[in-house]
Every structure is written in structure tokens, then in C-alpha cells.
């Protein structure tokens, strides 16, 4: 089947097997390997991406379901060589160790902060419960998301434009 998707601002037209999972499409067809497979059952969140501005677990979406959609992966964050505030905050607060869950965690946090820009620690914990991290005990992830929320409140324009585009 032919699909047309916009990933990180770039349009792609590709022929895909109807059973191909979105995560495999991103990883093998587009070589965007930052989106990872952890459980194939939507329970660990390593494969989280934004699809038309909403967080989805790309291991339980078919590529064909993304036809006509705009997708943001970890490779699409940051702008003009600058890190996205979430990336910066995860680095600053040591919000990652092995890094495998991190792209999904950052995308899930982005989805959360869009809904609740001033989420407190308990809300962040509830909002990220669909994403498993086995390394950090979540302690520094929560701190990172809080720091990012502060940074994003004063975020420069281009970042916000980018996110609004995702919402459209």
C-alpha cells in the first residue's frame, strides 16, 4: 500500500506492507532508529512518538494508520543545532543512564507538557507511567521534566512554532 506521511517536517511517500508496524517503518524505511522497540505491546513506551501532536506507541500502530499524518520522533526535536528544552533538561539532571528508553520518555514528556505545561511532580509521575525506565528509578526524570517545563515557559519562538505545527 502507498502511504504519505510527514515525519519531522519531511514528506515521504512509500509503499509499505499492510502489516508493517509504524515503529519498523520509521526504523527501517526512514532509518530513524532513535525510536526503539522495547516490548511490542505498548506497555513500555520506548517507541513513543507524536502523531498529529498526540503521543502514540508506534509499536502497536500500523504504518498505514499513519497515512496522511504528521509524526515527530526524537530526531525531530531541537532546532537550528540547539537541543529541545526537554533534551537539555534530561542531560542537565542526569535523567538517563543507558538511554534506550529516553527518546520515548522525552516524547511522552513533551505530550504531557503540552496538556499540562505546569504539571507538578505527582502529575509528571502519573503522566509518565506508561513509560518504563529500568535505570533511573524515575527520580531524575521527574526533575528533568520539571526543569524542562520551566525552560519551555520561556522557550524561544521557533520551538513553539514547531510544536504548533505538530498540533495542526
Amino acid at each position: 500500500m502507498n502511504i504519505e506521511v510527514e515525519v519531522n517536517g519531511v514528506r515521504y511517500v512509500r509503499q509499505v506492507d499492510p502489516r508493517q508496524l509504524l515503529v519498523h517503518f520509521l526504523r527501517t524505511e526512514l532509518d530513524l532508529t532513535g525510536t526503539r522497540v522495547g516490548c511490542e505491546t505498548s506497555l513500555c513506551g520506548a517507541c513513543t512518538v507524536l502523531m498529529d501532536g498526540l503521543t502514540v506507541k508506534s509499536c502497536t500502530q500500523l504504518a498505514v494508520q499513519a497515512d496522511g499524518c504528521k509524526i515527530t520522533t526524537i530526531e525531530g526535536l531541537g532546532h537550528d543545532g540547539r537541543l529541545h528544552p526537554l533534551q537539555e533538561a534530561f542531560w542537565e539532571e542526569h535523567g538517563l543512564q543507558c538511554g534506550y528508553c529516553t527518546p520515548g520518555m522525552i516524547l511522552a514528556a513533551l505530550g504531557l507538557l503540552k496538556e499540562q505545561p505546569d504539571a507538578d511532580a505527582a502529575e509528571i509521575r502519573r503522566g509518565l507511567k506508561g513509560n518504563v525506565c529500568r535505570c533511573t528509578g524515575y527520580h531524575n526524570i521527574v526533575r528533568a521534566v520539571q526543569r524542562a517545563a520551566n525552560l519551555m515557559a520561556q522557550a524561544p519562538q521557533p520551538q513553539q512554532e514547531r510544536e504548533q505545527a505538530d498540533d495542526s
Binding site: D17, R19, Q20, R27, T28, D31, L32, T33, G34, T35, R36, V37, G38, C39, E40, T41, L43, C44, A46, T73, I74, E75, L77, G78, L83, Q87, F90, W91, E92, H94, L96, Q97, C98, G99, Y100, C101, T102, P103, I106, A121, A122, I124, R125, R126, L128, K129, N131, V132, C133, R134, C135, T136, G137, Y138, H139, N140, I141, V142
Partner: protein, 783 residues
């Protein structure tokens, strides 16, 4: 000069690639002409294989090959994965790459399919027909040891792999004769799934023209994997194998063992002369990654009237699963038994461990590996001793601690604890928690019908198994030293090669801090290279909290050699005596004459140009150390958990978690605290949520994240950490190790807190995990 960053919380240099999705894990790699492997596993935990029909699968379009055990046998390779630690009388039934006669657990593979595409490989695997005769299965040691139990291996009658003991049984008998009080405990340490978020994977690339195999794989110890691939699995000479662990997404012990699948991917690539990738599905990870713990223990402690421990007797049945995994034999014995004294001056201890085969996934190291099992036991014994003697749990610990002035302290279990101040750590955590106030709160809450529990765990652990001669005498088929090479380039920048193999621990940062500090070189000029057997000298890898203490010390020793050689060159150039030249802040200078200062870069340049070197001195400036520690290191600490228990639902919530750890000198506090956070979370997971459960037929019931409960963000509080610093006296950095401390301590702290919280119901002991169902039943009675 460069300000030293040793001991500073600097941001990790690993992170920019990781946070931008640019880091490459094994499954992210692609090679031209790459094929994909899928395993064929039977659904039975115990069955005789009658036939394997591969014809339909072979005929499918896009299938390159289907192999069974007979193909491997025909190829003439050794074809096994061996155990790496021998014990007296150990039975070692073979573990073949593919099962040939029987399958012995639900993940045993009988065939491998190789195809052009991973989806196709799995389709074809479903077309392999395995005709089996189902056999009765055993999943628990008690069943496996029964008279008429089904037998897994003809080489291990009675399903017993080993019967091991440690300590002085007579001395323990004498202690019980003297004792006025005693404590009895029966405890099951629940079986756990490691769950590294990155599943295991391998990408094998065999170049027939050079007869060289390159294997990218999810490994905590690439040289160990190369050695075992060469000698036990493939029969390919070691120098013809290059193992690379690219980015590795967590291990927690599960990426130490040598497994069949990685070796099969390599063998398939050798057969087909094309790259072959295998990546575990999560279901396969549950069914084949080695699991942890699963001890079935009875213990008796002898006490005096004052609550002092006089003796301890422990008997453990260790469920080993279906085969002996690489370090499966060491974990319940030498990693467990010697730690049973904990932080206490127990004069007499005896421990007997029986390793039992069952039709379950093989058990091996999981974060802490034997030490959490010992800690949970001794810390439960301390709380029961407090109860028996009518003492507060903090007081009974105080009465039993090894006092700070007795270090180095020889335990009755053949360890020499290096340094410690156990009471100091406990005092600090009690102060942080405002312990007295907590106990008063608890009393008030109880009067209101609310359950608050407070639990302590004052642990000591052993890191960096050593020295090699001792572990060798105990049966290890491995050394436990580590390699560290420092190369100072002609321009003065530095490359560092370590045999440690990080998978999230941040060695690229903390090891650069060590070398930058020692050589006075800006950290930006230091690169750390690891996890590639063709680049790095042989090393033993990352596990057992050994990297800083052993790998870091190797690097520190190498920088010392660099400085020594640099002094000779500098003295020669300065026309001074070597003993008059000192190295300070990155400069060589004649003592008392700062004007003579020559930076390391200048001396490195001179060493490489070799235009004017002292007579007999070789050119170049590099040093390699194979550092073999003289002893383990013994980190310790005091953890305190506060839990709320809802008597109506049985739900337990950790509301506060405080920890004071002493891991010796700290290289990077940010990284050290991160290790503790993650470790604590894993221990809380064991105490409250995680449990690998098999049905009677040997099916793993908790084989997905729907049934295996991991701690998630909303389950946990933020952690309140502090530390004391008691340097390790026998390594050059004074570091002790931190990778497992949190896990070793926290299961016991939470267990003690929950049982403390249930005191109004007269509950003496419950086994982990404290699921709502279990707690509710304990409160309300009934089965």
C-alpha cells in the same frame, strides 16, 4: 593548569547522542545483504523431541536456511554454552546451542530460521513442525527433589547440580547451646526478571575471505563472550573473532551470560557468508533472558538476652532453572553465603546451599547477584531478633554492628571487610528521617486505624570480586582483574582503553575524570574507548559493581606509569636528576623551580619524536595495567523506608525512602546518585511488585508486562539521599563501587517496613512481593 574534576558532578558526555536518538544500539545497525534470524521454540517446558520438520519453512520464498541441532552437530563445532564457575562435585550437563533430545524449559530453541526479512523469518519459524512427547515438569526445588520427580538431565541425578557449604557447623551448634533466645525464619526470595529495556540482540558478520567473525551484541563483557564463543561454541580461534558491544540498553546482569542465540547468529553468518541479525522479541526476553534470585531458605539465629547474635544457620535451595548459566553456580554460593553476616559481628555462621535444576528459565546474576538474597535474610533476622528481645530495630542493629575500630575485620565466613562505620551511617539516616518522630506518628496513625510501617536495612556488600588467585581457587573459570591502557598522543591528547564495558553507567565520563585528574589534562582532551575486543586489551567487563574499583584503579595505575616515564624524559631534557623532577598540575618541573615547568604535551611530543631520550628508554608514551585487586571492596549504608498500607485493599505505598550510603570516594556524585536511585527502585520492585510465576506445567505466567509488574514512575517517591565517605584502603582511588548498593539494601528496607506496618495484626513474616492480595489476605485471613 586544569582544575581537577575528580569528585565533581559533571554532565555525562554520553548523553548528547542518547538524547537526540543518534546513539546506535545493536538492533539499530544495518549491514549490506543482512539476513534475519528467528528462533523456533516449543511451547512445552519439558518434552522429548521426536522430530523437527523444516521442509515447509525451507521452501518459503525469501528463506535462506533452516537449521536444527543435527546441522550444528554435522558442522563439527563444539556447539555448547558452558558454565563459568565450577564447584566441588558440580554436575555439568551440556547446554547445546539448539536442543536435540529434549527441551527443558519453555524457551529452549530447537531450530533457527534465517530469512531476508524479520517478518518473513517469523512466518517461516511458525512453519517448522516440532513433534514432541510432553513430559511432566518441575518448577520448584521441593518438587524437583521429590523421590519420583521427573529428571531433567541424566548427568544430574535427583536434579541436584551441587551441594555446597561454608562456615563452621560445630561452632553454630555450640552457639545454639549457649543461646537464651532464638529466631526461626522461612523465606522465599522471589524470582525476578531483569528486564533491560533493550532486548538482547546480535548482528554477526562473517568475512569468509579473512575467516573473521565480527559480532555486534548486547554484552556487559565482550571479551568473556569472545572467549566462550571461541572455545565452547564456535571453535573459531579467539583472534578471528571481534566482539563489539555498541550502545547497550541496560543489563542488570542479564547481558553477562553467554547464551545460545548470539552464538547461533554467528554460526548462521558463517554458514551463509552473509550478515545475520537476531533481535529478541520481548516475549523471547521473558522466556530466555536469565532470571534472578529464587532462593528457598530456612534460617535459625541464636541470640543472647541482650539481642546479640551468637550464631546463624542458613539452608538454601537455589532454583537454577533448566541449565547452568555462565555464573549461575557462583551467585547462590560465593556471592551469597559469605555475606550472610551482614554488618554484624556474628561469631559463628554456617550456610548450606543446594543448587537444583527445574524446568524454568536459567537463573544467573541479577543486580546484586546473591548479595540482595543474603541481605534480605540477615536484615529480616535482625528485625525478628528485635521483636524477640523487645528492642527497637535500630537498637538491635547498634548492639550487633562491627565497631568502626575493628577494621580490617575478618568475618567467620572468610572475608576481610576493608573499612566501615556502620553505626555512623545508621545514625545519619535516623537523623534525616527524624526517627523518633516517625515512631510517634506511627503510633498516632495506628490509633486512627491507619497503617504506617518503618523499615531499616543496614547492609554491607562486597564489590569487585578479587583477587584472581582466590576466585580461581574457589572454582572461577575466569580472572577478576581489569585492564586499563592510557595512550598519550604526540600532541598531548589522551586515549584511554578500558576492559570495563558500560551499558548506562557513564564510564566515558567518570573514567575521563580519573585520567584527567591524574594527568592534569583538560577532560576534553581525554577519550575513553571500550567494548570492542579488537581495540581494547583483554578485560572482564562490567558487573558486580566492579568497574570503578577495578577498571578505574587499572587506569589510575597506568597514569602512574605514564608519569614515571614522563619524569625520566623530563629529567633528561632538563638535565636534572629524576628524583628532583616532580609532576604537578599537568607539568613536570624541577622541584622548587616552577620556571622549568614542561607540560605533559611537551614531554609526550618528545617521547614520540625520540630525538633526545635518556639512553635505553623506548620511545612513545603509553602504559597498560592489568590490575588485580588484593581484596573485595565493602560498601555499606543504612536505608530507611516508610510505607503506608491500606488495610481495605492491601495496597502498599512507599511514601518516603531515605538512604545513607558509603561507597568510598566518589568520582562523580551525579552518576553515583543516579546509580543509587535506579538500584533502590529495583529493590522496591522486588519487594512490592515483581514476581516471575510459573504454572505447574512450567509455563511462565508472568511473561509480559501485563503480568510482570515493574515499578513505574507513579509507584515511587523521590529518594532522599546522603552519604558518608570511608575510603577503600586498598585501591589507588579509594572507591568502593555503587552499581548494586541500592538494590541490595532496598528490598530489605521495604520488607521490614511492610511487616512493621502489619504489627497490629500479629504478622511475623511475609515473603516478598507484598502484593495487595497477599497483604489483604494477611490482614483479613483466608486463603
Amino acid at each position: 593548569m586544569t582544575a581537577s574534576l575528580f569528585g565533581k558532578s559533571i554532565k555525562r558526555r554520553e548523553d548528547p547522542a542518547l538524547i537526540q536518538g543518534k546513539a546506535r544500539y545493536t538492533d539499530d545497525l544495518k549491514l549490506p545483504g543482512m539476513l534475519h534470524a528467528a528462533m523456533v521454540r516449543t511451547p512445552y517446558a519439558h518434552a522429548r523431541i521426536k522430530s523437527v520438520d523444516t521442509e515447509a519453512a525451507r521452501k518459503m520464498k525469501g528463506v535462506a536456511a533452516v537449521y536444527t541441532a543435527s546441522d550444528i552437530e554435522t558442522s563439527g563445532i563444539p556447539g555448547v554454552v558452558p558454565v563459568g564457575w565450577l564447584l566441588p562435585g558440580l554436575k555439568t550437563p551440556p547446554h547445546r546451542l539448539l536442543a536435540s533430545d529434549k527441551v527443558r524449559y519453555g524457551g529452549d530453541a530447537v531450530a533457527v530460521v534465517v530469512a531476508e526479512d524479520p517478518y518473513l523469518a517469523r512466518d517461516a519459524a511458525e512453519q517448522v513442525w516440532v513433534d514432541c512427547e510432553m513430559l511432566p515438569a518441575v518448577t520448584e526445588p521441593a518438587q524437583a527433589l521429590a523421590q519420583d520427580a521427573p529428571q531433567l538431565h541424566q548427568e544430574a541425578q535427583g536434579n541436584i547440580a551441587f551441594d555446597w557449604e561454608l562456615g563452621d557447623s560445630q561452632a553454630v551448634d555450640d552457639a545454639f547451646n549457649k543461646a537464651t533466645r532464638r529466631v526461626d525464619l522461612k523465606l522465599r526470595n522471589n524470582r525476578l526478571v531483569a528486564f533491560a529495556v533493550e532486548p538482547r540482540a546480535a548482528l554477526a558478520d562473517y568475512d569468509a575471505s579473512r575467516e573473521k567473525l565480527t559480532l555486534y551484541m548486547t554484552s556487559q563483557n565482550p571479551h568473556v563472550h569472545r572467549l566462550l564463543l571461541s572455545t565452547a561454541s564456535l571453535g573459531l580461534p579467539e583472534h578471528k573473532i571481534r566482539v563489539i558491544a555498541p550502545e547497550v540498553g541496560g543489563g542488570f546482569g542479564s547481558k553477562i551470560p553467554h547464551y545460545p542465540e548470539e552464538a547461533l547468529a554467528a554460526w548462521c553468518s558463517m554458514q551463509l557468508e552473509r550478515p545475520v541479525k537476531w533481535t529478541a522479541t520481548r516475549s523471547e526476553s521473558f522466556l530466555t533472558d536469565t532470571q534472578g534470585r529464587d532462593h528457598h531458605t530456612t534460617a535459625q539465629a541464636a541470640l543472647d538476652d541482650q539481642g546479640r547474635l551468637l550464631g546463624l544457620r542458613v539452608k538454601t535451595y537455589a532454583n537454577l532453572g533448566a541449565y547452568l548459566s555462565t555464573f549461575s553456580t557462583a551467585v547462590p554460593t560465593y556471592m551469597h553465603g559469605p555475606l550472610l553476616c551482614g554488618a554484624y559481628a556474628v561469631p559463628a555462621v554456617h550456610c548450606n546451599v543446594i543448587g537444583v535444576f527445574t524446568n524454568t528459565v536459567p537463573v544467573d546474576a541479577y543486580r546484586g547477584a546473591g548479595r540482595p538474597e543474603a541481605t534480605l535474610l540477615i536484615e529480616r533476622v535482625m528485625d525478628l531478633a528485635a521483636q524477640e528481645c523487645g528492642l527497637d530495630p535500630a537498637e538491635v542493629r547498634r548492639r550487633n554492628f562491627i565497631p568502626p575500630e575493628s577494621f580490617p575485620y575478618a568475618t567467620p565466613l572468610n572475608l576481610e571487610y576493608d573499612s566501615g562505620n556502620y553505626q555512623g551511617a545508621l545514625d545519619r539516616v535516623l537523623e534525616m528521617a527524624d526517627y523518633r518522630d516517625l515512631r510517634q506518628q506511627q503510633e498516632r496513625r495506628r490509633q486512627d486505624g491507619k497503617l504506617l510501617g518503618v523499615g531499616l536495612s543496614t547492609y554491607v556488600e562486597a564489590c569487585g570480586l578479587a583477587p584472581s588467585s582466590v576466585v580461581g581457587s574457589l572454582g572461577a573459570q575466569a580472572g577478576q582483574w581489569e585492564s586499563g591502557e592510557v595512550r598519550v598522543h604526540p600532541s598531548g591528547s589522551v586515549s584511554v582503553y578500558t576492559g570495563s564495558s558500560p551499558h548506562g553507567q557513564g564510564h566515558e565520563t567518570s573514567f575521563a575524570q580519573i585520567v584527567s585528574d591524574r594527568l592534569g589534562v583538560d577532560i576534553s582532551q581525554v577519550e575513553v574507548v571500550h567494548s570492542d575486543t579488537d581495540q581494547v586489551p583483554f578485560g572482564w567487563g562490567t558487573y558486580g559493581s566492579r568497574s570503578a574499583a577495578v577498571g578505574g584503579s587499572a587506569l589510575a595505575a597506568s597514569t602512574g606509569k605514564i608519569i614515571e616515564k614522563g619524569r625520566k624524559i623530563a629529567a633528561h631534557l632538563m638535565e636534572a636528576a629524576v628524583q628532583d623532577v616532580e609532576f604537578r598540575d599537568g607539568n613536570f618541573m624541577v622541584r622548587g623551580s616552577p620556571d622549568s615547568a614542561q607540560p605533559l604535551a611537551a614531554i609526550a611530543g618528545a617521547a614520540h619524536m625520540a630525538h633526545n631520550l635518556p639512553e635505553g628508554l623506548e620511545p612513545g608514551l603509553r602504559a597498560t595495567t592489568f590490575y588485580d585487586p588484593e581484596n573485595f571492596t565493602f560498601p555499606f549504608g543504612a536505608h530507611l523506608a516508610v510505607v503506608e498500607i491500606d488495610p481495605d485493599t492491601g495496597e502498599v505505598k512507599v511514601v518516603r525512602y531515605l538512604a545513607v550510603d558509603d561507597v568510598g570516594q566518589v568520582i562523580n556524585p551525579l552518576i553515583v546518585d543516579g546509580q543509587l536511585h535506579g538500584g533502590i527502585a529495583q529493590g522496591i520492585g522486588q519487594a512490592l511488585y515483581e514476581n516471575a510465576v510459573y504454572d505447574q506445567g512450567g509455563q511462565l505466567l508472568s511473561a509480559s508486562l501485563l503480568d510482570y509488574a515493574l515499578p513505574r514512575s507513579h509507584h515511587l517517591p523521590s529518594f532522599e539521599l546522603d552519604r558518608t565517605v570511608t575510603p577503600c584502603p586498598h585501591n589507588p582511588l579509594g572507591v568502593k563501587g555503587v552499581g548494586e548498593a541500592g538494590t541490595i539494601a532496598s528490598s530489605a528496607a521495604v520488607a521490614n517496613a511492610v511487616i512493621d506496618g502489619l504489627k497490629p495484626y500479629d504478622i511475623r513474616h511475609l515473603d516478598t512481593p507484598f502484593t495487595p492480595e497477599k497483604v489483604w489476605k494477611a490482614i483479613h485471613g483466608g486463603e
